[in-house]
Amino acid sequence: MEIVVLIKPVPESETRLRASPDGRRLDSEGVRFVLAGYDESAVEQALLLKENVPGSKVHAISFGPARCGEALRAAIALGADAATWIEAPPEGSDDPILAARALASALSSIPYDLLLGGKHAGDDEEGIVVGAVAELLGIPSFGSVTDVRPAGPSGLAFQRPTEAGIESWETSLPCAIGLQQAWNDPRTAKLPNILRSRKAPIAKVDWPTVAKALGSESSPRSLSEEFRLPAPRSGAKMIEFQTPEEAAEKLVRLLREEAKVFP
């Protein structure tokens, strides 16, 4: 099975975020971008399938600025066989439709049976790209999927947890899947594989090549205008009390008079 994993580097979770000097986006200066969240699960799922379907290959692909290289190397360290960076234009790497077009265009020359991505990216949580790539390629796509397993000679079975219960699905290939969870927790890359990944080749498709292939579709549909951090939350209020009755009384008074939860 040829498995393509679509990954997007996102800021490391411990990063302190700030706006860029022009106020339009996240300031990437000094921020470490990593493979994280659902994308990490997607890589894990791809590797599990590779281990269970002999002859499979995993190819990690990322659309965006140069920092994609770090996330791709992380995927290689985990066990991906190949990696491709598709360069984004200086403006518009955040546009999900442009990302989908660029990825779909690259996939015209990359073999795939299964496209795997996170159910949404760990930063903007839009969840558009996997479905949009599938649409552009004319293949079925499924979101919020867990537990993808090989089924029959050339199909896949998977589950989708919903409010009402767990759905079980089967699909033929090719298809695209936005993953919520693999059947294992994401593995940790071993030290020698990390060192090896530093020297692994990463194929690059530069932006002029992508732009040429996309022709009139190469301009972003959306551009970020403003980036603001949420206002800091006001602090918690501790209630001091001697008896539970006193605590309840004080809490009700605060809810009524300060939080105005009750009239």
Binding site: E70, T188, L191, I194, L195
Partner: protein
């Protein structure tokens, strides 16, 4: 200009160590400390991830890292648990004599099978009669045609109860002092090896330490590292390599103490305000961060010196000594900032002080480090 930023490769090594430390080690640190449990499952996993034989070249199955890379990893591990870190890096200490004194044939014979599976090794230098005066060691090596017979006792041996390989220092002629010492590779199952009980320690309780008695242990000539007079030099050059990671270990403990104390100071209120607003606490925190940063930079500098192929005796002595003193001081102040809670075993800070204390003692006590530092310093003037 010095360059203080890390390469992307170094960042990813540090990420690996941090993830392992925080997800595997930290959750079990308090439990292992309390019950003095040797968490073999964690050590096995450290080996699986390549975090164990850091200094062994990849051609023999190790991770092949330089000094600075090792320090980055060790600091992260020690942030989660000093004791586990001591046991994880004991292999580096025990195998370094083979790296320094072994022939290519000895390296492939002993290191390759050792590194290809989970194994622990121990470095056996210290003896009950004294550790600091290593040239005065009493364990005897007696020549018997093509073999040597080793007898004596080693003490405070990290991973002693579990090791499957020992590097042992023994004297062929005590009257020759340092010139009489030879180094040997001894497999853990050699007849005549008697392991003592696991010592009950103040700190590093997730590590295990024991005596190793050698009762007429026979080793062949090709288990001798270097020449018959090279053992002492191999031991000293080994410690030149491994002292710097002890600086990193101490820095990790100190950083953990600082983080806990700074966070606590923002939460704990006295006299109507967080204690972080009392200047006395601010001054403590300022002194603590100065000590942590200085410890890290001295450690990085020593590692950088060694990575440039220099012995780094002076630099590593300064780094180990400063960082370990800093760790004890910072942990002490962290307890002070926690007040009475800091003294309670249910809070994590008192463990840091107990763990920090060892870093002043082992791999050459700080008194010995100061002797070495002064000797190296004065050499530059004399």
């Amino acid at each position: 200009m010095p360059e203080f930023s890390l390469t992307a490769e170094q960042e990813s090594l540090r990420d690996l160590a941090r993830k392992f430390a925080r997800t595997e080690m930290a959750p079990k640190a308090a439990e292992c400390d309390k019950s003095a449990r040797f968490p073999e499952e964690i050590y096995r996993k450290a080996w699986e991830l390549g975090l164990m034989n850091l200094n062994v070249p990849t051609e023999y199955g190790g991770s092949g890292l330089g000094a600075l890379d090792q320090c980055l990893i060790v600091e992260e591990l020690a942030y989660a648990c000093g004791g586990m870190t001591t046991s994880i890096i004991a292999n580096c200490l025990a195998l370094e004599p083979i790296l320094l004194g072994g022939s290519p044939a000895q390296k492939s014979r002993w290191l390759t099978p050792f590194c290809s599976e989970y194994h622990l090794a121990s470095f056996c230098l210290t003896e009950p009669g004294g550790g600091s005066d290593a040239a005065g060691l009493k364990t005897r090596a007696r020549k018997d045609s093509e073999e040597y017979v080793l007898s004596g006792e080693k003490c405070f041996i990290t991973n002693g109860p579990h090791a499957s390989l020992f590097t042992v220092f023994a004297t062929l002629d005590p009257s020759l002092r340092s010139k009489g010492v030879a180094a040997f590779i001894v497999p853990g199952d050699a007849p005549g090896i008697v392991r003592g009980k696991d010592e009950d320690k103040m700190g590093h309780r997730a590590s295990s330490t024991s005596t190793i008695r050698l009762e007429e242990v026979r080793v062949s000539r090709d288990q001798r590292l270097g020449g018959e007079h090279d053992g002492f030099s191999i031991a000293m050059r080994t410690l030149d390599q491994t002292r710097t990671p002890i600086g990193a270990l101490a820095t990790g403990i100190a950083q953990a103490a600082l983080d806990l104390a700074a966070r606590y100071s923002l939460e704990r209120k006295t006299f109507g305000k967080p204690i972080s607003e009392h200047q006395a606490i601010q001054i403590k925190l300022a002194n603590m961060v100065q000590a942590v940063r200085a410890a890290r930079l001295l450690t990085w500098h020593a590692a950088w010196t060694i990575d440039r192929g220099q012995p780094g005796t002076l630099e590593s002595s300064i780094a180990k000594c400063y960082a370990s003193d800093a760790a004890l001081r910072v942990a002490d102040e962290a307890i002070q900032i926690f007040g009475g809670y800091g003294y309670m075993r249910d809070y994590p800070v008192e463990k840091l002080m107990r763990d920090a204390k060892l870093t002043q003692i082992y791999e050459g006590s700080n008194e010995i480090q100061r002797i070495v530092t002064a000797r190296e310093l004065l050499r530059q003037y004399g």
